[in-house]
């Protein structure tokens, strides 16, 4: 028995392989372009030749000016839009459509307005195949986690923006996707709520250790949250630079911390030219 165990543990090729798998990219975006065809008007090249790899449990921010196609890229990863030009693979398999391995959180919450907080969270759990009692328990655990105890039976229309987004995050976390796609999730919130939610997200992420792809146009937000920042250019969007952003974020006054300020300045320089370009284009 003992010998068998030793033999299994010592079987190198497999452990090397699994280590490589963990270290290797979970999401591989390879030379993706995307043309947006509005119902009326001319076609727009939204993304051009985008390549990016995201590792398991990494927090990557897609940072760029409005209209640079960063949300489009997120929707392609989510499988909501078809990838026609280039390839996107998750866990080695090309993305063929939406799936519960990739949860998404939208800027405007996308809660089902006809369902209560609890029913919204239960919705994703119904498809997982848990027993009813287990689903209820899990929903309650996530309601408690995001601090919405007492609001289980409220409808979204009765909640503040921050509470709606907490519900949306709880709903997505509850069905336990490996990958969290976040589309400017705090963009519709006021400054105070936003900063609290950022803190909360960071602590949730540190506990759950999911892969996060976070779309934002806010440099400070990206610097505060992400391990790596992919800076995108103005339309047609492509990846201008990918920057390592790992540094000590435990400082409670991080926004006044010199390392933080320098990071923000550095990245703002990169984003600024693109933001100006994007402005010019809109005029």
């Amino acid at each position: 028995m003992g010998d068998d165990h030793g033999a299994t543990a010592g079987w190198r090729p497999q452990s090397v392989l699994s280590m490589a798998m963990n270290g290797a990219a979970q999401i591989v975006i390879n030379r993706v372009s995307h043309v947006y065809r509005p119902p009326r008007g001319r076609e727009v090249l939204a993304l051009q030749d985008v390549s990016l790899e995201v590792r398991r449990r990494e927090f990557v921010a897609l940072l760029g000016p409005s209209g640079c196609g960063k949300s489009t890229l997120l929707y392609l990863i989510g499988g909501f839009l078809p990838t026609v030009d280039g390839t996107i693979a998750v866990e080695g398999r090309p993305v063929a459509g939406p799936g519960p391995d990739r949860g998404i959180v939208f800027q405007h919450f996308a809660l089902f307005p006809w369902k209560t907080v609890r029913s919204n969270i239960l919705y994703g759990l119904e498809k997982v195949g848990l027993e009813r009692a287990e689903r209820e328990k899990r929903a309650q655990a996530f309601i408690d986690m995001v601090g919405l105890s007492g609001f289980e039976d409220s409808y979204p229309s009765q909640l503040s923006g921050g509470m709606k987004q907490r519900t949306a995050i709880a709903r997505t976390l509850a069905f336990d996707p490996n990958i969290l796609l976040m589309d400017e999730p705090f963009g519709a919130l006021d400054a105070q709520t936003r900063s609290l939610m950022q803190e909360e997200l960071l602590s949730i992420w540190q506990r759950s250790r999911k892969t996060v792809i976070f779309v934002t146009h806010d440099v400070q937000e990206a610097v505060y949250l992400a391990d790596r920042i992919a800076v995108m250019s103005a339309r047609p969007g492509h990846i201008k630079a990918v920057l390592d952003n790992r540094f000590d974020k435990s400082d409670p006054h991080i926004h006044k911390n010199q390392v933080f300020i320098d990071k923000v300045d550095e990245i703002w320089e990169l984003v600024k030219t693109e933001a100006i370009k994007a402005q010019g284009e809109r005029r």
Binding site: G103, I104, A110, F112, S157
Partner: protein, 246 residues
């Protein structure tokens, strides 16, 4: 108290009606007194005349409206969700929309005769239009992010239609059904007035032609009351369905 203050105008109107004919301000052949009308209403209720004809009318309305709702929901959502179906059917619906449906009364009689069938078909055709349009507009307004959320939580396309598109369409759909409900009474009475052997509309025409004006007015009041009660009940139902909308 509130109920009384809301009923007060109606009570005043009833009193004015009674006085107008009692004081012979209008002749009884133009407007029989309310008390006479109520007396003949009671008489017709006891003889069963009102029940038999009322049941026949209600059956026609329920069958016509019910099938129009079922069909219109499916049609409207299908049109909103599959472009080929929309391309094929929206010209038909648009052409049919402004047409006065009462013009079809003789047509439905030729097709289905004097009985229930022709009335049910007429109500079905007329009511289908507002239901379809309500379902179509409501379903088209379904938020893309909600659709995507449901899909990412493992809902199949068909399941998503039921879980997201149908409830999203609900407010407009329910309004469309309310329009259809009012229309169903109009079409019912007009078709029964023109060609029928029973029904409340038939009774109004028959009694009027025979000079039984107080009885005729009693049936008119009955129809008005049924329409009012149906709409009130429907509104209560609608409010319950849309509780989530603050």
């Amino acid at each position: 108290m509130l109920a009384l203050s809301r009923a007060l105008p109606l009570i005043l109107q009833a009193v004015a009606w009674e006085l107008a004919s009692r004081l012979e301000l209008v002749s009884a052949s133009v407007l029989p007194s309310l008390s006479d009308v109520l007396a003949s209403w009671w008489e017709m209720l006891r003889s069963g005349e009102l029940i038999v004809n009322g049941a026949s009318s209600l059956y026609r309305t329920a069958a016509g409206l019910g099938s129009a709702v079922a069909f219109g929901i499916v049609l409207g959502i299908a049109m909103a969700w599959w472009k080929p179906i929309n391309a094929l059917l929206s010209p038909v619906v648009e052409a049919f929309y402004p047409m006065p449906k009462s013009a079809l009364i003789p047509v439905t009689v030729i097709w289905l005769g004097f009985g229930d069938g022709s009335k049910i078909l007429l109500i079905f055709m007329g009511c289908m239009v507002p239901v379809t349009i309500g379902a179509f507009n409501g379903a088209r307004g379904a938020d893309q992010a909600l659709v995507w959320s449901a899909r990412s939580m493992g809902a199949s396309r068909l399941r998503m239609l039921w879980d997201v598109v149908v409830p999203s369409a609900m407010p407009e759909l329910l309004n469309g059904i309310r329009t259809a409900l009012a229309l169903s009474f109009i079409l019912l009475v007009s078709s029964e007035l023109i060609v029928a052997r029973e029904g409340l509309g038939y009774l109004i025409g028959y009694l009027g032609a025979n000079g039984s004006y107080d009885a005729m007015f009693a049936v008119v009041l009955t129809v008005a009351f049924l329409g009012f009660a149906a709409d009130r009940a429907y509104q209560a139902f609608m409010q319950r369905m849309l509780l989530w909308r603050e």
